[in-house]
């Protein structure tokens, strides 16, 4: 269970950043008073354009960032005060966090398994299962740097699942993958959900959100605009599909920064 209560994350902007964003404000509210609840056994999708605050929100859940205001709790543990406990029960995948290219998937799988305090026999069993699922057993001794982009992503996912986490946080999991690998990943997410895990992903791909997510939260400019199942959102926006629904909302809520 993930509970986000009034999450606000404010970044101070450096002079350089201010020039880049062409703004005179010294602060940027990356996440603005976001509240949401995601439950075990569902896939919750954060949908929004680039820079809307999806990654910031997920990073706060993953204990990497501290909320400026508000609280985030995962499985009942506070992400700031009990970050160690939270880290035990989550896995976090994002394209900025990578595996060390110098090591093999097998080495890193074992390494992170040990960091999570799992015994060797369990690690061995988990590795067999996950590597077979992702078809990386044949490459398990190759260095990460020698693998293709898709292979790297599969290895990253396998390694991140080493400790069988209750909560799976994937930040744009299919970004940059070919159709087959992307399908592989989405199938896995469904499998994890069916096993009763809580899956939360961020995406800007409408079709992915439409097909995959049980519930969708739409974020624009750091604010959560709406939330619900696909039919609920379509009903609310009176749109035929998610893309139309999104643009209807975007037109209303996106404020031009002048």
């Amino acid at each position: 269970m993930i509970e986000i209560k009034n999450l606000t994350k404010v970044y101070k902007l450096s002079k350089k950043k201010m020039a880049e964003l062409k703004t005179k404000e010294t602060m940027k509210r990356a996440a603005d008073n976001i509240s949401l609840t995601a439950r075990p056994g569902e896939i919750y999708g954060l949908l929004g354009p680039n820079g809307a605050g999806k990654t910031t929100t997920l990073r706060c859940v993953a204990t990497l960032l501290k909320p400026t205001e508000g609280e985030v709790s995962v499985c009942g543990y506070d992400t700031v005060k009990q970050s160690d406990k939270v880290r035990e029960s989550i896995c976090f995948l994002t394209n900025e966090i990578k595996l060390d290219p110098h090591f093999s998937p097998k080495y890193l799988f074992n390494f992170f398994g040990r960091l999570h305090g799992i015994d060797e026999a369990t690690i061995e069993a988990r590795r067999k299962e996950l590597f077979e699922y992702f078809e990386i057993t044949d490459f398990e001794n190759k260095k990460i740097e020698e693998l293709s982009t898709g292979m790297k992503q599969k290895a990253s996912i396998a390694v991140s699942l080493v400790h069988d986490p209750k909560v799976v946080i994937f930040d744009e999991p299919t970004n940059g993958l070919d159709i087959i690998t992307a399908r592989n990943v989405t199938d896995l997410l469904l499998k994890l959900r069916n096993e009763g895990k809580l899956v939360i992903i961020s995406t800007h791909i409408m079709s992915e959100a439409q097909k995959l997510c049980d519930r969708i939260g739409i974020i624009i400019d750091g604010k959560k605009i709406t939330e619900g199942t696909l039919p609920e959102i379509l009903e609310e926006t009176k749109a035929a599909d998610l893309e139309d629904a999104f643009f209807n909302l975007y037109r209303v809520h996106h404020k031009e920064e002048k």
Binding site: L64, L65, I97, L99, F103, Y107, L115
Partner: protein, 404 residues
């Protein structure tokens, strides 16, 4: 902590390039440089010795040729004899030759050299002279002059003095004898005491530099650090694991440096003649030396970690580390020039890096007290712990760790 320690080691030992640059290259470099230096110096010396000088002697006194044959000088140099009335052009040509290196030496004796020398009686009588023209910038010419001076002029002088005074002892007023009283260890250690602290301090730092920058700033840059931060382990465990792993590697790398340097040194010494000497360490001294080295490495690595943590990428970290490297070189060099001066105050031993450098120097000189040792090593360890604590705090800082 143990896992991260092992991973740091595995990272280096599974990479041929890293092994090469950390362990093979220093050894090859040391042997190469010292061997080459020794060989070149050796060659230079023997080349000069083997060179047969081209020497011109104008107006040679009577009996000169016999003397040259007798002393064997005629085998060391091709001597050409010129008459007193040799043309000015010929002399100018020879002097040109000296300038360009074709001719090594031109010696001109005064007319009636022997007669004038023999006829000397009272002050004011004419004293004959010898003029030697040579090129001070050329090794061959220099050597030809000093050989001629020593072998020929020396012999001539002795012969003339003998005939003037009969007994050469008349010229000796007193004999001087010297008795050397010296502490063997200190005498032998002098050269080492000057170089060693500087070399150790510098090499230890240089050895850790690349490693640490890559292991901290490099990991941040590659995005592999965050994975570690997501593990449910204490930040301080990550820091300590990295610290110890990197320290072990640094010590190993600098040991390779040190051992190859000591082994290669004789190769250079051959060419330079005796300069240093063997220094023997007692077991206690070896333990102390290791203590200083290990504590210094821990301090170095932790300081480098702290700097690297704040850098966004390896390039930036290298730029931050450079000033510190300069400071280390200067601190190490300071000890090179205080040999023989007043002993430094005990408190100087508490200055990081400089204190360690002083301690190594005192150790080689056999003068290191336990207090000084404790102080220099202790300061390193205490500072290391403080820095590790600081790094653990920084590891929790999202701004620094994720460039957020």
């Amino acid at each position: 902590m143990k896992n991260i320690f092992k991973k740091e080691l595995a990272r280096v030992f599974s990479d041929k390039k890293m092994i090469f640059s950390l362990f093979v290259l220093p050894a090859v470099l040391m042997f190469g440089i010292y061997g080459l230096m020794g060989m070149l110096m050796d060659n230079m010396v023997s080349d000069i010795e083997e060179h047969v000088g081209s020497v011109y002697v104008q107006n040679a006194p009577e009996g000169f040729e016999e003397l040259a044959a007798q002393s064997g000088y005629d085998k060391l140099a091709n001597v050409t004899y010129l008459e007193a009335d040799a043309s000015a052009e010929k002399i100018a040509e020879l002097k040109d030759g000296i300038l360009n290196g074709g001719v090594d030496l031109l010696v001109t004796f005064d007319a009636q050299f022997m007669e004038k020398a023999a006829a000397y009686q009272n002050a004011g009588d004419p004293i004959p002279s010898v003029t030697m023209a040579y090129n001070s910038s050329l090794n061959y010419s220099n050597a030809a002059r000093s050989t001629f001076n020593g072998m020929m002029l020396g012999a001539l002088e002795t012969g003339l003095l003998q005939s003037r005074f009969g007994n050469l002892d008349l010229l000796t007023v007193f004999n001087t004898e010297t008795e050397v009283i010296v502490n063997e260890d200190k005498a032998n250690g002098e050269f080492l005491a000057m170089m060693l602290p500087y070399l150790i301090v510098m090499l230890l730092f240089a050895g850790s530099m690349g490693l640490v920058v890559d292991a901290i700033a490099g990991e941040k840059e590659r995005g592999t650090m965050a994975n570690m931060l997501l593990s449910p382990i204490k930040r301080s465990s990550i820091v300590f694991g990295k610290l110890f792993g990197l320290s072990v590697l640094s010590v190993m790398s600098s040991l390779v440096y040190a051992v190859s340097m000591i082994l290669a040194m004789p190769m250079m010494m051959d060419g330079m003649g005796e300069m240093g000497g063997a220094v023997s360490f007692s077991p206690l001294q070896i333990v102390e030396l290791l203590g200083i080295i290990v504590s210094l490495v821990l301090f170095n690595v932790s300081a480098l970690c702290l700097i690297s943590v704040f850098a966004k990428n390896a390039k930036e970290a290298n730029a931050y580390v450079m000033p510190l490297y300069m400071a280390v070189i200067v601190l190490g060099m300071l000890t090179m020039f205080n040999t023989g001066g007043a002993a430094p105050a005990t408190t100087s031993y508490a200055i990081p890096i400089y204190g360690s450098s002083l301690a190594i120097q005192a150790l080689v000189n056999n003068e290191l007290t336990l207090v000084q040792f404790g102080l220099s090593a202790g300061v390193n360890v205490v500072l290391m712990l403080v820095i590790v604590f600081a790094i653990s705090k920084v590891f929790n800082n999202e701004k620094v760790m994720l460039n957020a």
